[in-house]
Symmetry: C2
Subunit: 247 residues, 2 copies
């Protein structure tokens, strides 16, 4: 049934958002001596959002936004040693080992045995390549695509490039905004595997999500059964997923 099954990477195959959250907490501690009851997280998010068109996603972009936020929130009083410390936070993020989510290795191996797999991730090229190399999963993916944004246009262009019919394409990921809704919009199928936390930028209005047909599993370990069921509906041996659909 599927000519191509694609996986998102960050927070679908390996932990990512939790590393950003932990680093944000380090920034809050660093700036605490300068500030009094300021919402660092909100200001950082505003800076990140403003900077995405310039700097895109990934650790370097996040770091430049942390530096800008530190300067702005302290009215320029932040010591340059603390700015150097923020750059050290970035290098520590980069040095953090890739930590696979539970069950990922087995699921990817199992699905790869019967399907051509692609990795589609957005963000920084070097960040993502490094994580993939360290993950031990690279050999399971026939194609690796690192893209600047995951829009309908991105998916349309990828499917055209690989000559895959949207109806025979399945995307698996944790972000409704990036992995599910644009794929469904162009006629593909998608499986939502929620991660315990979602970056504010990736959140979507539940009402919007409910206007789409996609599958939702509680854990990635349920993916092989879902794929098997979709390929052979008669042999349905349970229903480990939920079909989210407009009532």
């Amino acid at each position: 049934m599927f000519d191509l099954i694609a996986f998102d990477a960050d927070d679908t195959l390996w932990h990512n958002e939790s590393l950003y959250t932990a680093t944000q907490q380090k920034l809050e501690q660093l700036l605490a001596p300068y500030l009094d009851g300021v919402d660092v997280a909100a200001r950082l998010y505003a800076t990140e959002t403003r900077n995405i068109p310039y700097f895109g996603y990934g650790i370097k972009s996040f770091t430049l936004s942390m530096i800008e936020t530190a300067i702005a929130l302290t009215d320029g009083r932040v010591a340059s040693a603390d700015i150097q410390q923020i750059i050290a936070f970035a290098k520590a993020m980069i040095d953090t080992p890739t930590q696979l989510l539970e069950g990922v290795k087995e699921v990817v191996a199992q699905v790869a045995a019967s399907h051509t797999l692609m990795l589609i991730t957005k963000g920084d090229l070097l960040d993502q390549q490094r994580k993939l190399e360290r993950s031990g999963l690279a050999d399971y993916f026939a194609h690796i695509e690192i893209v600047a944004e995951k829009t309908e246009e991105t998916y349309r262009a990828l499917l055209a490039h690989y000559k895959v019919d949207a109806a025979r394409f399945l995307m698996v990921g944790n972000s409704l905004k990036s992995d599910v809704l644009p794929v469904v919009a162009i006629g593909g199928q998608a499986v939502h595997v929620p991660y315990h936390t979602t970056w504010q930028h990736e959140r979507v209005d539940p009402a919007v999500a409910q206007q789409s047909h996609y599958f939702e599993v509680a854990h990635i370990s349920e993916l092989p059964a879902l794929v098997a069921t979709l390929q052979n509906p008669k042999s349905k041996i349970g229903r480990p997923y939920e079909l989210v659909t407009l009532v």
Copy 2:
């Protein structure tokens, strides 16, 4: 004769290094009040080199290295307003229009009429996509590949992915280190089109370069004639290129 002709982008199709050089001069002016006769360029280059394994290539990486250099060279005395200014330099670089090298548009259109073209560029994904979009050249390239490094392994993997025999592959670029030597090493052909300035990191020992067989043209406008000659050696109507080879 060629199944695939690939072009480097920065300093082959459009100006790039000159923008970095101009920004480095802005950094030197910014730091001048703090310093006395310090070689900012040399210290910046040392920082960039140390940071490449962490941050890779591109404007964000360059910016983080400028910030680190400013802090280190001033022993932490640099004002945070000046660090904010360095981030403003980065945004100005990003906002700079893509300026094609002379003759590029015509040459790319001409070669694209008879060959499948690929763009292979290293650096930051977003930087490169933005420059390509603004260049007006995107439609001439069947394939766009933005890679973290241009090594023999990179080229070998790309040719395997696109099922192209190395002997039927021609790479065109300004960097001996990234565009010419690794391609020749894996059995491909390469054309060197020197740019008026080469980033120190991309320079190679002339003795090493001379152990390879590649073509060199003084200007990209000579490329179509070179390709035509290589395809049909008998109809050679001049020799607009130099074959660089070990004596």
